[in-house]
Each structure stands twice: as structure tokens, then as C-alpha cells.
Amino acid sequence: MSLWRQLSHGLRRLIDRNAADQELDDEIDHYLEETAATFVARGLSPEEARRAARLELGAPASVREEVRDYGWENRIDNLWADLRYAGRTLTGNPGFTAVSILTLALGIGAFTAIFSVVDAVLLRSLPYPEPQQIVRIWEQAPNGHRINLADGNFDDFLTQNHTFASLAAYNERPASVSGGSEPARVKWSEVSHGFFSTFGVKPLRGRIFSPEESRTQGIPAVIVSFPFWQRYFGGADDLSPLHLKIEGKDYAVVGVMPESFDYPAGNALWTPAGLQSQSKNRTGHNWRGIGRIQAGVTLAQARQDLSAIARRIRAEYGKKVDLQDAAVLPLDKALVGDVQTALLTLLGAVGLLLLVACANVAGLLVARGAARRKELALRVALGAGRGRLLQQFLVESLALSLAGGTLGVLLAAWAVRLLPAILPANLPRQQGIVMNTGVLLFALAATFAVGAALGALAAWRAGRGDVQQALASGSRAYTGTGASQRLRGVVVTGEIAATLVILIAAGLLGRSFLRLVSTSPGFQARNLVTMQFSVPVETEQNGALGPDAVARQARLLERVSARLQALPGVEAVGVSGAMPVAEGDNLAEGDFLILNGRKPPADFEEFQRMGQNSGQTGHALYAVAGEEYFRTMGIPLVRGRMFAAQDQAEAQHVAVISEALARQRWPEQDPLGQELEFGNMDGNLKPLTVVGVVGDVRARGLDAPPGPVVYVNYRQRGMNLNSTPTLLLRTAAPVKKVVQQARAIVQEMAPDVPLKFSTFEEQMSGWLADRRFLLLLVGLFAAAALSLAAIGIYGVVAFSVARRTQEIGIRVAMGARREDILRLVVGEGARLAALGAAIGIGASLLITRLLTTLLFGISSTDPVTFAGVALLLGLVAVLASYLPARRAMRLDPNTALRYE
């Protein structure tokens, strides 16, 4: 078998090269002797015969080389020789090697770490069967906004579509739950029939809801998440004895979802939605929609299908409905949302950093290639082919990049373990961030690409020189030719340009962040301890609270407030139904009626009818609070009065509105005394009279303008499931101590109520977390790139000084002053920096536009940032070239002129 022979012969030669060579030599010797013998036979003396034979055959050494060249093992042999050679040159130059490996490790490591995040969040498919078939669906308003589904509209989508295998509605809200090992505040989702089959996921333990449980007013049952089951039930195998009290109502635990099922993100409890299938409600957008498209149906077809239904609804109900169209988006896209821009920004920044790192190493390689020109020329002269030289360069640069890549992957593995601590909590799918095979393969590919590119560049450089000239040029070649210096200049210019782009991105993000944190929220956020105190909510129909329930709730809140108020160091205690800014998304929002003397509606049908006239409605956030809340938060009263003692449950119900609402809705009129109907928020149709106007707060977050707010009194309206009852304590005392004391008091008064303490500043920083994360990383990358660029500039200028030592000596001898030398040398660095900065600014002008959605209060071409960053880079460039310049200035012309 010839393959076998190929292998065995090759291996024999590889294993015992000497024996193989000896055999070959013997064979050549024999050949020579026989040839000589024929000459002797022709009458030559043995001496002459041997000479003649040698002449005829050529040098035995070259014959041997020719034969040795044959066979695959020879390639390996060459490679091995190149590797050993590379090892020798690399270890023989430890400074260069260490700097190159560390630089590449930094670039590849950072890139790999960020890629693992991008892979988990953006690239990997969701852990459900045929995930591409799962979509989120919305109603679409005439202004193009996507809105949640109303009961009646969802019903029509469900029954009339032809393209969905299943369609489900769900909501998500916080809930107080007890019955496990301890009471807790967790995420709770009511889901319609078909929710789990949409995902194609079965429970890990137990079952999904039975028809008796799924129907309206069915048997109460709950399915819990894996983490909840582990934490509050200790992973108990037998579910039959388990019950939970959710918001005061009893549920039997019927199932546990597998660990991989996390939808909606972080949800702990799923219960059947009491969806009222007969509900005619087409404007209460309470439901999020999810569906699975039938196999073979495209996204566009599914969308068209739902659009047609939406248009039918619009045609039938006209202005009574808000929808005009339907929106369909693949679930993975919907999950990722705006995070995509941030992540791609990061990936871009880290990609540029990798480029800068490569440029630095390329600069070093070119410099070294110049220094090795003579050696290379010698090898070419001795018969090394271009292929061999290229191979040698590739081996060397691949050795570098593999070492750097290995170190980089270790760095990345370490970084990935640290990531959870700094990743913003709202980043979806972050549990999936791991160094898996895909990420490792990616790192390997990046490593090889870097190595191959660097090797090819170095070989191309080295291959260009004229061999003779290199050999003849004496030791001057040591400092490199003008051409290689020019190439390094180009490399460094590119490096500076890339660095500038990262710096500008970091600068823009940084300035946005500063603007954001210095924006006044409209209240004093310091020294505020918050306590989420999730009192049970006893709702009646429509989610409304009865007067007794309101009174009980108010009494409990008042009693707790009074006890907390008595704590040493506590200046004020306020009660509110949600925290602005930090959890602004939890604030309810909706349309209210302005009665203008009309009779308040008797039921919600009439409410709907009266709401048709847009001249007599308004739109606002809805907040439940007590008068102490405004004092505690430091929100000023602008006009009228606060809630007061006379505002009892049976008295006239009052409201306080924010300045923004007063400005928007009653620009020319006095809002005080206006009568509002906002019963759609709490199910209570008793109208509200505006008695006061308070200062604006940036309720929805610091990056959103202050919104219109209607505050109602918790003593009159109570807090229903839309609220998260929160007590705010203004105190200068140490937070830990206050929390400890407060917890003891509340647990004694209401042992079943879950508590969650925090400080307002903590809440705010949680809200800022994703911006901080992005800024931190881009800032780090920018700093790393800047240091690399500084090293790059230094390298070029220092080399240039070394090369021009004689020239500088002559200049000094001719009377050049130190300032002239300084200008000469620093000018070189500055020229590179200026050119690089110009290119970088041009590129940034094109690129930073993509950042617009991440910025706050500045434009993507903010001149201050651009100028500042360019200045910074210029300074660094001057500093980096000052060091070699100092050396040049100190040159003694005598030594310099003799410098070889």
C-alpha cells in the first residue's frame, strides 16, 4: 500500500534522520566510486578518475540536498527548524517578545470577552424548539407606536388568524407571595391558555394548567420557576402539598418550569390569566402578545395576516379603538431591543482596540525586519526561496499570536467570570455568557488571522529589499531603511486614527453620563432610604379597592410610618405607590376625563363614551401618595394646597398635579378646582378635584423630560395591584442602622409582608447601570488604545532618532541649537499624530452617528468632545516623542558622528 509506505518511510526518516542521511551518503559514495571506476577503466589514474567523477556528478552535498528535499517529512522538518529558529529569535529578544505577546493578549482577550457577551445576547438562538418561529405581537397605533393588546382585540387576533400555530397573552407585575420558606416580592405573570405551548416547553415537574384551571374564574393554580422552586421549596419533589398565597389569594402549585425557561425574564410565578373572553374592552391595553408562527409561514405573511385583522377591527370600531395595524417582531429581536446598539458599540470599540494592538505589533515586526535585513539577505543568497522565507515569518508571527491568543483567552475567561458583577441587570440573556466552543473557535480564528496578517506584512516588507544592497550597506542597515520607517509611520498613523475614534466614543458617552447625573430629578435624592412594603391588596371587581380595604391599608401605612418616624435620626417618612426615576417604568399612565361641570360617568361604558372628545381629556402618569411624600422628597408646592387632614375617605376626593401637566393642559386657565375623572386607574369612579400644583420630577428617568403627573391621596384611593407601596425615609443616620431598626419594627407589626430596603441613590445607580457599564468598558478600551498608540509613536520616533544619529550629530556640529533638535524630533511625532487625528476625526464624524441613541444632551458630533480628544491625543503624542527628543538633544556630536 503506497500510503502506508509514504507514512512509514517518512516516519523512519523523521525519527532517525542520521541513519537516513548515512544511507543516502553511502549510496552517493557508491555512485561516485562506480563512476570513478569507469574512468580508471579508461586509463585515468585513481586520483584523476575521482576528480573527473566529481566533476561529472556535481557536488555530493547538492545531490544530497536535492534528494533530501523530497517527501512530506521534509516539510515538517523545515517547519520544525523554523519553529526552533523562531523560538531562538523570540527568546533572544525578550523585550520585544514580551511586549508583543502582552499587546496581542490584551487585544485578543478583550475582543474574546466582549464577543462572548455578543454571542450570548445577540447571536445564540433562544433555548426553545424552532425559536425563529416565536414572535412578539403588538397593536400598532396610528402614530406608529407599538402598544400592548386589549382583551377584545387579542380575542380577534386569536380566533381569526390563519398563520399562527398558537397565540397567547400575558402580563407581568410584581407580587407579594407567601407560603414558601419566607414571604417574598417576586415577578408574577398571568398567562393565557397556549402560553407554554407557544414556547414548546414542558414543565420539569408537574404539569401545565388543566382546562378547569385555565377558564375564567377557574381553580387557582400556579406554576413556579426553577429558581423559585429551589429557593422557597428547597427543590421538593412532591408538589401536591405545596400552596402559595399570591396577593392574599390561595393557589395550588401544579408545576415547575425547567431552569432554561426564563420568560418573561426573571419571572417566578405563572398563573392562568382570568382573560374575559366576552370582554368588549378594546382600549385597555393590558396584555403582551406572543405567538408561534406555523411552520412554513414567513414573518411577513404572519404580519399581513394580523394587519388584516387589525384593519377589520379599525373599520368596525373606528375611533373607539387605538389600533390601526399590528406589529410582529421575532422574539429574540424583541428581547434584545436597544441593547443591540450598546453591544455593537462595545464590539466596535474592542475591534478597534484589537486593530491598534495589531498595529503596534506590526510596527515592532517591521522595525525588527529592518534590523534583520542582512540576515535575511544572507539566507536568500544561500538559496532560501521566497516560500521558505514567508514560512519562517509566518511561523514566527503565528508563534507570537498563539502565545498572545492563549494568554488572551485566559484573560477573557477571567473577565467573563468577573462580568456578572458589572453587567447591567437589565441586559437580557446574560446568564448565557460563557466561554463555549464557539467563542473559543472565534478567538482561535482571530488569533490565526492576526498571526497570518502580521507574518505576511513582515515577509512582504522583507522580501522587497534588494539583496545585494542589503548585504553591501554595512551596519547602517541595522537602523532600517527609509522605506520601512515610512511603513511604520503609516501603521502608526492608522493606529492613532483608530484610537481617536474610540476616544471620541468614550468622550461622548462620558459627557452624556455627566450631563445625566447632574440633571436634577426634581427632588433631593440624597439621604433617602426606601422600603418597599408590599401590603396585601384586597381587590374587588375591576381591580378596585372597597372603602374598608382603603381604610385598613391606610391605617397600616400610617401606623408603620408613625413608628418609623419615631426612629432616631429619621427626619421625615413619606408614602408612595411607586418610586420615580428608579422604577419609573412601573408608574401607571393613562387618559383621564376633564369633567368641566359634567356629571361623572356612572360606569366604564359611559367613561369610554365621554372620552371620545379629546378636548375634554388629558394624559398623565398616575401616582398614589400622601402629603408627607412631598415633604420627604423635597418636591415643592407651587400653588394651592397639599393633601390635608380634611381629605377623608368620604369627603371630596382631591388631586395634586405637576407643573408640567398644568402647563400642558391648562396653559391659560387656573387648574385649581378642575374636576378630573381618573377612575380607569384604580376602578373607583369618584371624581378628583385639583387642589394643588407641585414641582416637576423626572419620573420616567433622568433622560426623559418631566412628565405630567396626577397625584392622588392614598388615604382616599388606596393602592391597588398597579402600585408598589413604598415608604421613603429621609435620614442622615447611617443607612445600615436605620434599615436594621426599621426591619425589626415592621416585621413585628406585619410579619407576613415582604420587605425590600434600598437607598434612593442605589436605585438610581441601578437605573444608570447600563450606561455606566458601557462607559466603563469603552473608557477602558480607549485608555488601552491610547497607551498603545503612545508606545507606537514612541517606537517610531525613537527609531528615527537612532537612525538619524549621525545626521543629528552633523546638525549639532553645524550649530543647531537644542530647540532645533527638539523641534525636529517632536515635530515628527506631532506630524504623525496630526495626520492620524485628522483621519480619525473624519472617520468619527461618520461613525459616531450610530451612537445617537446612547447619547444624552449632546450631539454625536459634539465639538467640545472632538476638540478635547484631539488635544489629549496631541499631548500624548508630544510626550511620547519628547523622550527620544531628549536623548537626541543630549547627543555629543563627537560620538554621534562616529556612530555606526
Binding site: 500500500m1 503506497s2 509506505r5 509514504q6 518511510h9 544511507e23 543516502l24 553511502d26 549510496e27 552517493i28 557508491h30 555512485y31 566510486e33 562506480e34 563512476t35 571506476a37 569507469t38 556528478l57 556535481g58 547538492s62 545531490v63 536535492e66 534528494v67 528535499d69 523530497y70 517527501g71
Partner: protein
Amino acid sequence: MEEQNTDLIQGTLDMLILKSLDLEPMHGFGIARRIEQVSRGVFKVNPGSLLTAFQRLERMGWLDSEWRQTENARKAKFYRLTPAGRKQMGIETANWNRRATAIARLLKAEA
């Protein structure tokens, strides 16, 4: 004086080696001399190419080799055809004949 071209026709060395070994095992020099003599000096074999060809043919499984005494009491590496080598020689010879006849016909037609 005009130098005679003694280079082998490209790709024929393998066939000539196989053919030379058809009669009896031989060492490298013997094969070279045989090719030279039988071709009456038209072809001269370069030892480098010859020894490389041995490596190749041996690995293809067409030749075997062993060290033996020669008739004049020197040690030499003798090559011998394997059955596969014999078959290969048949194929190459047939191929060559076919092509040579074709070329001869073409040249005749031109004349």
C-alpha cells in the same frame, strides 16, 4: 560546437528506471549506465534526479531495495521491481507507445 541535449524527456525517467529493472535488480549507478548505454548516449541521467526518483518509486510501492555485495565486492543499494511496479511499467509503456505513435504520425503528416 553545438552541445547535444542529453536531458531526459520530461516524465520518462520513472518509466526508464522501471524498464531497466525489468530484467534484474540493479543499483543506482547500474541503472544510470544502462540508460546511457542502451540509449547510445542520447540520454544522460542526473544522479540527483535519479536518487530522488528512487525515493518516490519506492514510496509508491513499485520498487523494493536492499544493500548487497556487488560483483566487484562493493556494498551497494540494489533496487528490484515489485509486482505493482511491473504492472505500472506495463501501463507506462503502453501509454508512451500510444503517444509516441501519435507524435510520429503527426510529424509525418507535416512533412
